[in-house]
Amino acid sequence: MKAKSIGMMALCIAGLGAGSTILGCQKETPKPSEVSAADKSAAQKAAADKAAADKTAADKAAADRAAADKAAADKAAADKAAEKAAASKAAADKAAAEKAAADKVAADKAAAEKAETQAKAEAAALPPDLVEMKAEITRMTAQIDLTMAKLDTLCAATGDLEKPSESALAAIEALDAEAKVLKSRGEQMRDRGAAYFEVWEKQLASISTPEVAEIATKRKEELSAKYADVLTAMQETRAAMDAYWSDMGTIRKAIEEDLTPETQKLLEPQVKAAKEKATTLKSRIETTFAKLGEVSLIYTKR
């Protein structure tokens, strides 16, 4: 048994030796069926891996694209919303600005209307002296127009000049009377104005409350400035009156010395010059009266 086993072992060793010799000499070739399977498997795996990678990449790309699209859409929406908000704000600002402007216009209009109403009411409530003066001015200006019309008639008259001369002289006399009344009124107004400011000075001196004194002083200065304008207007009117009346004196003298057709011709340019001066005079009288109206409170008490 023992010998048999030893024999078997030797055989095996010999066989192994032989086997090893054979292996070392012969080129080793893979088994075709085993290689292609592995390759195939590997290829499949690789393909699968690639496919998976491609899919992942595609998915990622798609996700990125979707995210990018979403971000772009979000941004666009946000931009749109911001644009809308800006537009709304602009519209609101515009509406507010328009409302403020409209309110201001309405307020200004209301204030102007109120001031106008007050001015009208004050003008309507002119003190009696100014009402009388207004009537005198109306009469005076009407008489100027009438007198100049009579002189025009005289200048255009032919034949008998006596009647138109008498009529013109009568008109000049009446104008002289009206002018004297108005002159007297002007002097009276000037004196009363001076007296009024004297009283104001006294009242101011008696005021001990600083706030009242401040307002009174400010108002006095305002009124004094306006009154100074009145005095200036009066002086200008006086100057216009003197110039006009000088012309009228010459005309009257010429008429009184009995007009002849020759002297009548000389009268025409004088009358024309006097008419221009009459226009200036009437304008200055109106200006003076308007300025007196602005300080009418001076004349509220007799």
Partner: protein, 203 residues
């Protein structure tokens, strides 16, 4: 504050009234009666001053709100209200002087009943002194207030115009504030007078 003070004063009055009731000799003494009477008259006239102040301020507001055609009439009405206030102030000054002298005399010589403790007597004397203090304070506020109303009147006399009254908005506001302060100081005097009167009065 008034609400808390008043019940206390009423209680004090009741206690004092009781005290005087048991000692009629002292309470009905001419000095006490005269003092109480003068305080009553003074209080009445002071209350009239408050009415005049309110009337003057209201007239001033009417002036400022005038339409052009109403200015002169409203300025005239205002002038009358200020004159009335001035007149009433003179009456109060006379009454105040009378009350002060009678009170001084009374408290100087006053012999309180036995059941009026020295502390109570001191309290009454102090209350009277407080009236004089409050009167001084009220006078100090009233004098420039009246002067300012008169000054406004002087100004309106020379400038009774729309522009003139339009320039007075701030002035009127100040006058109203000043008037409210003066009225408050007058109220303090009235409260104190009523308190002392109540304590001295016989029931």
């Amino acid at each position: 504050m008034m609400c808390l003070r008043f019940p206390r004063l009423v209680a004090t009055c009741i206690v004092l009234a009781g005290a005087f009731a048991v000692s009629p000799g002292c309470a009905s003494s001419p000095d006490a009666k005269e003092t109480v009477d003068s305080m009553g008259k003074f209080g009445l006239e002071v209350a009239k001053v408050k009415d005049s102040i309110d009337h003057s301020l209201k007239s001033l507001e009417t002036v400022v709100a005038s339409q052009p055609g109403e200015i002169n009439a409203n300025v005239s009405a205002y002038g009358k209200s200020v004159a009335a206030l001035d007149k009433q102030a003179k009456v109060v000054r006379e009454r105040a002087e009378e009350m002060r002298s009678k009170g001084d005399e009374f408290f100087k010589e006053w012999e309180p009943p036995k059941n009026v403790t020295p502390e109570r007597r001191a309290e009454l004397t102090a209350s009277f002194a407080k009236i004089k203090e409050d009167m001084t304070a009220a006078k100090q506020g009233f004098t420039p207030f009246l002067a300012s109303l008169k000054d406004i009147q002087s100004y309106l006399k020379v400038d009774p115009s729309t522009k003139g009254i339009n320039s007075m908005g701030e002035l009127v506001k100040k006058a109203k504030d000043h008037g409210a302060q003066v009225n408050a100081s007058i109220d303090a005097v009235l409260n104190q007078v009523n308190s002392v009167r109540g304590m001295l009065s016989t029931k």
